[in-house]
């Protein structure tokens, strides 16, 4: 939102702003919204002079250049003059004529439109043998519009010899304020609204221009030739006003108007369109002008405001053809759609240089509808920006009257040729009075407010207010659609006071300890333990490529899919974490890391699994992957990656104090549970397993199947695990470990080798433990630890060597005692 201080002053006679623009900019920043950019215009125009073209003469040898003699009333003293005091300028514009008042950029000045990156400095130079001093400027060169057809010509009889800065009030600051701050303030999309706010910030009373009043109504004696059937008046078009104006002469608008428009970022088009835009940037209210001859039938204009029918067409003024839907508001006549209500006009009925009469529309549309239409057709216009903030329908009448008077000013022959149509919702209400407990206000601000200061503060912003038995009552003016709750008044007071004036103090609270879920602590512990064991924590996106899911064999239709993904590689929520980690293995090997352990804590989801609140069930998982290149494994690693992973699993469970006596590994051919089934898919059967503690499934562990290894370029020494953090948290022992008194007697041990009978280690261990249990030797503490395993070539079974330790607190154990125990363990 660009504002111009000079424009504000022009609109609001008597506007009392501080003289120091820096102070204004500073306060806008802290009390209105972020200042994104500031431009001081004067330096760009300071040399431009208004001059009279005394004579023109064709330049010999050129088909389009003329030699002009100009009169600057001797304002400039550093330029070559003829004896008669006139200055020679060669001009290429076709429209240059004797007697014109034009804008001259003298030698030494910079062409305003070129200011910035590559400034073009003018000089005196010979053109085909004639010295030309500077140039006569076009509107484009003055950065006023795109018009480069000819030089700028001021109205006949205009005074000359003055600076352009003075003429156009270019000693001006243009301040660009971030729009976001104004999302709920439609009034601040107009210069008047911002001027009011700035005045109030500086605690100076503001008065809106006289015409901006509910009493200002346009009247007409004409009748019978304009009608509006507003079918949406009680829904999405609460107000539609219009009037026909005849005897229009379409031409460029005066320079001052073009100048204000271009300062605020609007391109001048012609006097009629410029008036509608001028009024819009002054007030925030968009208007639209139709060429009357293109919308009328039988000498009458009969407009209809309605919802479009599906597949109706409209070509908008920017030339794009829109396929309308029943969600769109349109202005139509009996033949066709003329405009997209509140969004953009139609090309067929736009004002052109042939236009002689217009229908001027000043209406109000539902902000939600306007936004929807804008979004669904991708049309973003100045009107949309303003209407989708919810403009006040009350301002339609004064603004229509003001716009009509401006048209009259620009086209003195223009006259009103129709009745003034005003179609308004039946129950349209002015903003209602809002109240706020002064006590509540003080409690928000943490200070005691002074009632008189309060009334003055708000009164400066034209808020009618009173205080009655410790309550503040504010009757919002007709343009404020945002004040409907007592906290809105708190905001108003706090902002106009300045947040930096509010004293700071910490809030008080009871000293009870804050809450922290155990899961948060578990995660922290897991992460710190793993990092301490040489693993690197990484983070990967929550969204993955469908191709990755396919590569590891997971079903994409079980993954939540984004309908508006940034790209196909970020399309699916993850069913399990491990594929993301698998995808990070190869790039890191390629970058020269031969061996590493990566882990991530994150969330997974699967379609169909919901939590007790009806939301997709969200599971926290730890995923860990180990990988080493062939180069490393050949040199110094023996055995499958699986067992490296196992080392991490044992370590992790140990640091969490989880009782591992019930740790089990179970591999099945089929898994009934969908989530388990999908999570197991990346793994190779025969080299992977579920991880359980007792009957609780803790997660998955294993090496990956060939297809995913191949597509993700994983080395053979690569394995991953994924554990459910909630389960980990549940199993984490809060109680300290039980201490066993140290024995005064020596520990004895003996090794024993037993075959697993091809049933696996776990089975063998359980058998041994059962036998020890059945021995019931209460005063001896037995320890059992695997120390070696041997599998002969071609054998199915593995021979495991265990070290059995025995210890007693009461006596020295003999070798025979432990020998007996071992004999029994070995017995089949």
């Amino acid at each position: 939102m660009k504002i111009s201080l000079a424009f504000m002053e022009m609109l609001n006679q008597g506007l009392d702003l501080p003289k120091d623009p820096e102070a204004i900019i500073d306060r806008i920043g802290s009390q209105l919204g972020e200042v994104e950019n500031v431009r001081y215009l004067k330096p760009f125009y300071q040399d431009a002079l208004i001059v009279k073209v005394v004579s023109t003469k064709k330049l010999e040898g050129s088909d389009h250049l003329s030699v002009c003699l100009i009169d600057d009333k001797h304002e400039r003293n550093d330029v070559d003059r003829q004896q008669d005091g006139l200055i020679k300028v060669v001009c290429g514009a076709a429209n240059v004529q004797e007697g014109q008042v034009a804008v001259w950029l003298p030698p030494g000045s910079i062409v305003p439109s070129s200011a910035g990156e590559t400034p073009l400095r003018l000089d005196s130079r010979k053109i085909m043998g004639v010295i030309s001093n500077g140039m006569l400027a076009s509107a484009k060169e003055l950065a006023l519009s795109n018009d480069h057809e000819g030089i700028v010509v001021l109205p006949e009889g205009s005074d000359f010899g003055n600076s352009l800065v003075e003429y156009l009030h270019l000693d001006d600051w243009v301040i660009d304020i971030e729009n976001k701050m104004f999302t709920h303030r439609p009034d601040l999309f107009g210069q008047i609204g911002v001027a009011r706010e700035i005045a109030a910030i500086f605690k100076r009373p503001f008065k809106s221009p006289d015409w901006y009043s509910l009493d200002n109504n346009l009247t007409s004696n004409a009748s019978g030739n304009l009608s509006v059937e507003n079918r949406l008046k009680n829904s999405s078009c609460p107000r539609f006003m219009s009037v026909s104006i005849g005897n229009i002469k379409v031409k460029p608008s005066p320079l001052w108007m073009q100048s204000y428009l271009s300062r605020c970022g609007i391109r001048p088009i012609n006097n009629i369109v410029d008036v509608t835009n001028f009024v819009m940037i002054a007030t925030g209210q968009p208007l639209h002008a139709y060429d009357l001859d293109k919308v009328s039938g039988n000498d009458k204009v009969e407009l209809i405001v309605r919802n479009a029918e599906d597949n109706e067409k409209l070509v908008t003024i920017d030339g794009s053809e829109i396929n309308l839907t029943s969600e769109d508001i349109v202005i139509a006549n009996s033949d066709k759609v003329l405009a997209l209500g509140g969004v953009m006009g139609g090309r067929d009925s736009e004002v052109s240089h042939n236009t002689t009469s217009i229908v001027l529309e000043c209406a109000n549309f539902d902000m939600y509808k306007v936004r929807k239409t804008s979004m669904s057709h991708g049309i973003f216009s100045e009107a949309v920006t303003r209407f989708n903030k919810g403009q006040s329908p009350w301002q339609c009448a004064p603004i229509l009257a003001y716009a009509t008077s401006l048209i009259n000013e620009l086209c003195p022959d223009a006259d009103i040729i129709s009745e003034v149509v005003d179609s308004m919702a039946d129950d349209l209400k002015l903003p209602e009075e809002v109240s706020l407990d002064i006590k509540k206000l003080d409690s928000y601000l943490g200070i005691k407010t002074n009632p008189n200061e309060l009334l003055e503060l708000l009164g400066n912003a034209e808020l009618a207010c009173r205080i009655d038995s410790d309550k503040l009552y504010v009757k919002p003016p007709f343009w404020r659609t945002d004040l409907d709750d007592s906290v809105d008044l708190v905001e108003e007071v706090a902002r106009l006071t300045g947040f930096d004036k509010i004293p700071m103090s910490l809030p008080s609270r009871l000293a009870s300890p804050p809450f922290k879920p155990n899961l948060v602590n578990t995660k922290l512990k897991v992460r710190e333990s793993l990092a301490a064991a040489g693993a690197n924590e990484l983070l990967t996106y929550s969204f993955v490529d469908g191709k990755l899911l396919e590569a590891v064999g997971q079903e994409t239709n079980l993954a939540f899919k984004l309908s508006n993904a940034l790209s196909p590689d970020l399309e699916y929520y993850r069913i399990s974490m491990i594929p993301s980690l698998m995808s990070k293995v190869h790039p890191n090997h390629k970058a020269g890391f031969e061996k590493f352990v990566l882990f991530e804590i994150g969330k997974v989801h699967i379609v169909g699994e919901m939590d007790s609140n009806g939301l997709p069930l969200e599971k926290d998982r730890l995923s860990l992957i180990v990988s080493a290149t062939e180069k490393i494994t050949k040199a110094n690693i023996k055995g499958p990656a699986f067992y490296q992973l196992r080392a991490y699993l044992d370590y992790l469970l140990g640091t969490l104090g989880i009782d591992c006596s019930e740790l089990r590994f179970v591999a099945k051919k089929q898994y009934d549970d969908v989530w388990i089934k999908e999570s197991m898919k990346p793994f190779q059967k025969g080299r992977s397993s579920l991880v359980l503690i007792g009957d609780e499934i803790l997660g998955y562990i294993g090496e990956f199947h060939q297809k995913s290894k191949h597509s993700l370029k994983l080395p053979d020494f690569c394995a991953g695990l994924e554990l459910d953090l909630e389960q980990l948290e549940k199993l984490t022992k809060e109680q300290p470990r039980e201490y066993r008194p140290l024995s005064r007697f020596p520990k004895v041990y003996q090794d024993v080798t037993i075959s697993d009978a091809a049933k696996g280690y776990q089975d063998l261990l359980r058998r041994i433990e059962k036998r020890i249990e059945s021995l019931s030797i209460p005063d001896i503490h037995l320890g059992i630890k695997p120390i070696d395993a041997y599998q002969a070539a071609g054998d199915e079974d593995v021979k495991w060597t265990f070290r059995i330790t025995a210890e007693s607190n009461e006596r020295t154990l003999t070798d025979r005692e432990i020998g007996n125990i071992i004999d029994k363990i070995k017995q089949d």
């Binding site: 999302t183 709750d485 609270r509 040489g534 996106y541 508006n564 790039p587 969330k603 690693i637 599998q791």
Partner: protein, 357 residues
């Protein structure tokens, strides 16, 4: 399809499967001249037969692909192992895999920062509630005073899923941690009845559908703060944030605010601090302005309190949302936000005890 064509495909299939047994590079079969020749024939088949033939060739290719896959898997797959064993047989103790060197291990700078932030707030009495990664419209928007169709929703370029909730609305990837506010208000409402306040910090991962560059990520981290009690005022908000930031940076700072608009707070503010890296002298981190815009905050809107079952006549409070990524980038001088989720070890290991790879 006429019999000749059927026969032709059958023949090709038999031949291809025979080849599969013989050749070494099984995958090359999918690029075999025979298969290609079949595809090239499709456009030349009589129009009435063409579609059938095309389909048959496609399914033949799929069949061959499946067979190749099976073969490759069988041929290249490693033999089964005893997944219940603690280590592999025939490997002596010194060669068994063990944990890696502790010096190489590292925590991710983002998660580490979140822990640090939570620690400070915990010491200030704030509970910690982590945020969700998939949520519904009610929590993300409606409960936060964003009416349906409100233009303020446009400022949150929200990812949504094809799958819908019971009301037919898509699930959303939260675009801010404020998505947790309603849950926190509801959960800790009883604190208020007990005469205490609600104080919580809600860290989490959030998502925005925006183009990615060195300064913008579609995935980033925020921490939301919520404080509700009796007579909680704007000065309390500013003081809480200032106190946290001074502890966080270990130095005195100045603060600056700017009015803003959020539907879920009123008043709403943008909050900036004097640059802690140069004490306002101007440096690269603060773009030589001396100030750093840090977060959005404000007094919780009464409608948000109401949605959480709290009476705004009696209680009021404040909330803020702050990005974590930028804090970390400023702290460590990280120039590209995309490194965070890159999974690159040359990045991650710079945060290890060893200090580097």
């Amino acid at each position: 399809m006429n019999e000749e064509l059927i026969k032709e495909i059958e023949l090709a299939k038999k031949h291809l499967l025979d080849q599969l047994e013989k050749i070494d590079d099984k995958r090359s079969l999918l690029r075999s001249p025979e298969l290609r020749a079949l595809y090239e024939r499709i456009p030349k088949i009589e129009p009435d037969q063409r579609a059938y033939f095309g389909k048959a060739v496609n399914s033949l290719k799929e069949e061959i692909a499946l067979a190749v896959d099976q073969h490759v898997n069988q041929a290249e797959s490693l033999p089964p192992i005893d997944v219940t064993a603690p280590f592999a047989p025939n490997v002596d103790m010194s060669n068994r895999p063990s944990l890696l060197d502790a010096n190489m291990g590292s925590l991710h700078p983002l998660t580490k920062e979140i822990d640090y932030i939570c620690d400070i707030f915990e010491s200030m009495g704030f509970s910690v509630i982590p945020s969700r990664e998939i949520d519904d419209d009610w929590h993300m928007f409606t409960s936060l005073n964003f009416p349906e169709g409100h233009p303020a929703r446009d400022d949150y370029d929200t990812f949504m899923t094809e799958q819908k909730d019971k009301e037919g609305k898509p699930w959303l990837a939260p675009a801010h941690t404020s998505t947790m506010q309603n849950r926190v208000l509801t959960k800790f409402k009883s604190n208020l009845e007990e005469g205490n306040s609600i104080a919580a910090i809600l860290p989490g991962r959030v998502f925005r559908n925006e183009d990615v560059d060195a300064r913008h990520e579609h995935t980033f981290y925020q921490f939301e703060g919520v404080f509700v009690g009796k007579d909680v005022n704007i000065g309390n908000l500013l003081a809480s944030l200032k106190t946290f930031l001074e502890k966080y940076y270990g130095t005195d700072i100045e603060i600056k605010t700017q009015p803003f608009y959020f539907p879920f707070t009123e008043p709403s503010l943008e909050f900036a601090i004097s640059c802690p890296f140069c004490s306002k002298a101007g440096c690269r981190v603060c773009s030589y302005s001396g100030w750093i815009e840090l977060l959005g905050c404000g007094m919780i809107h009464p409608n948000v309190l109401k949605a959480g079952g709290i009476d705004p006549e009696i209680y009021q409070g404040f909330a803020w949302g702050c990005g974590v990524d930028r804090l970390v980038m400023m702290k460590h001088n990280i120039e590209d936000v995309r490194l965070f989720e890159s999974g690159r070890l040359d990045f991650l290991r710079q945060f290890s005890a060893g200090g580097d790879s």
